[in-house]
Amino acid sequence: MKIIVAIKQVPERDAQIAIAADGRWIDEDDLAYTINEPDAYALEEALQLKEKNGGEVIVLCLGPERVTSTLREALAKGADRAIHVEFDELAALDTLAVAKMLAEAIKPESPDLILTGLQSDDLGLGQTGVVLAELLGIPHATIIMQVERTDSGLRVKRELEDGWFQHVDMPLPALLTIQSGGNKLRYATLMGIKKAKSKQTDTVTPADPVAPSIELAKVYLPSKQKKTEILKGSPAEVATQIVEKLKFEVRAL
């Protein structure tokens, strides 16, 4: 099975975020980046499917030169090769434009399966996978916890709300968006890192993007929904204050 995993590079979760001078995105200078977490689970699922069924795993990422570090990490974890769709002005793209660029890079590969995370940790629109499937004319399923190869294609376990699940049978080729937590993530081994150096990364230049249909006009710090009283002092002092609240306000003690 030939599997393409579309991954995104996003700011690290603990990164200190500052709003950019133009007020339309965050300041990217000195920002530490990493693989989008749900995409890491998509990569893990792809590697496990390859271990079970054979085939090839190709990682695909759109972005400026910096994203090649995330692609290299994926190669070190076991992906066979990488495709870098090189484009610097990510802010000029909406989801549809991103998906079109990814679709163009995917088409010549004719994969059996495309995996990606269910949403990104930065924009969180949660749409690239579904739009990509629509553009490629293949079926999709979202928020997937498990993937099994069947005679007719795939059986996937889809997460629903409130702790419910559902199995869905689907033909190949197909696209799945993967939920976090379905598998345990692997680390890159020293051997893997060494091997990654000789693996192939193709760089492709996308066609000019379509004009976006939505725009991010402004980013800002959220206003508080409640007035939070910050309790200050040593741990013991803070504990005493909380106990007071628990006694007299919450009446839990």
């Binding site: 969180g124 749409q127 699940f165 004009a211 939505i214 959220p222 628990l246």
Partner: protein, 327 residues
């Protein structure tokens, strides 16, 4: 029409209650732009629901009935709603941001050359749609680049709990059936029955006191200090998703959109930053106390009391103080 079309959600003849939150959002948007608001319901065996919806203060109810829509599929939903939207020709299409909508709405918007503005938390003059970025660390104003029109409608989905379903007034709407051509071969996926992993033995929704733990706990063996705090307080122990994903606590103790929704007297969040998927599951708590090392963590936006500090120092001190207060 022009104006706003709300797409509701039902399963086997029962409403998803977020449908009426989306209707409330649609009415608010319609008021802002000085237009009318209609709604659509799609599925099989939905005549009762259609009548129910027609009893709300809406312009028209577009009813899309088809046997092939009995079980949800993305393909069936996209085709059905493409018909409904073309017939209704709205400027804005509003959805509840459910798991089901996340599964099909992006593909539907693509068919109109548009992008869904998902998980909206507020609508302002303009109209401007507010959504969260970076797990709630920032808010962002989004707007369509061109004036939304019936040829290029703007698609938005609204977050659970942001618009009040109770605000929807009664009225009388005209029911409009939607002509739909849909054949079995257009539906590529075969959905199976819904199931739950195991009988839920922990009902967090009934717990008056909850101590909940998140990523900040760092290691599995550290869970013990939060368990001790919960025990001292006589509270149920709960967790955010990553803790359950790691297998450090069972899935049935997970609070959030994919776990349980709780509204206890006290929710004490330990090392939980407050990603939106978690907040929707607990923002109804009466008193929220949060302990987190990051003063900018979104949990502090909804907490009544906050402690910015090291949980490994604060939690044991709190357990000690509670035990002392009880003795």
């Amino acid at each position: 029409m022009s104006g706003v079309l709300v797409i509701t959600e039902q399963r086997q003849g029962a409403w998803n209650k977020m449908s009426f939150e989306a209707v409330a959002a649609g009415l608010e948007l319609a008021k802002l732009i000085g237009a009318t608001c209609s709604a659509a319901v799609f599925g099989s065996g939905i005549s009762t629901l259609t009548t129910d919806l027609a009893g709300k203060r809406l312009e028209k109810i577009y009813s899309v009935q088809h046997d092939l829509l009995a079980d949800y599929t993305a393909d069936g939903s996209v085709i059905a709603l493409e018909h409904a939207i073309k017939q209704a020709a709205p400027d804005y299409v509003v959805f509840p941001h459910t798991y089901q909508v996340r599964d099909f709405a992006p593909a539907l918007a693509t068919r109109f050359g548009q992008v869904l503005i998902s998980d909206v938390i507020a609508i302002h003059e303009g109209p401007v749609f507010v959504r969260q970025l970076l797990q709630g660390k920032l808010n962002a104003d989004y707007r369509p680049t061109a004036l939304a029109s019936s040829a290029t409608p703007c698609f938005i989905s609204v977050q659970a709990g942001t618009f009040s379903a109770d605000s929807v007034e009664t009225g009388q709407a005209e029911i409009v059936p939607v002509e739909l051509t849909l054949t079995a071969d257009q539906i590529r996926n075969q959905p199976g029955e819904r199931f739950r992993e195991s009988a839920q033995t922990v009902d967090l929704s009934a717990a008056p006191l909850i101590v909940s733990v998140g990523r900040g706990i760092k290691e599995e063996e550290n869970i013990a200090i939060v368990q001790e705090l919960a025990d001292a307080l006589g509270a149920e122990l709960a967790a955010s998703r990553p803790i359950c994903d790691n297998g450090w606590l069972p899935m049935e103790r997970q609070v959030g959109s994919s776990g349980q929704t709780v509204a206890p007297k006290l929710y004490l969040a330990v090392g939980i930053s407050g990603a939106i998927q978690h907040l929707v599951g607990m923002k109804g708590a009466k008193t929220i106390i949060a302990i987190n090392k990051d003063e900018n963590a979104p949990i502090f936006e909804i907490a009544d009391y906050g402690v910015v500090g090291d949980l490994f120092e604060v939690v044991p001190a709190l357990t000690k103080a509670i035990l002392a207060a009880k003795s």
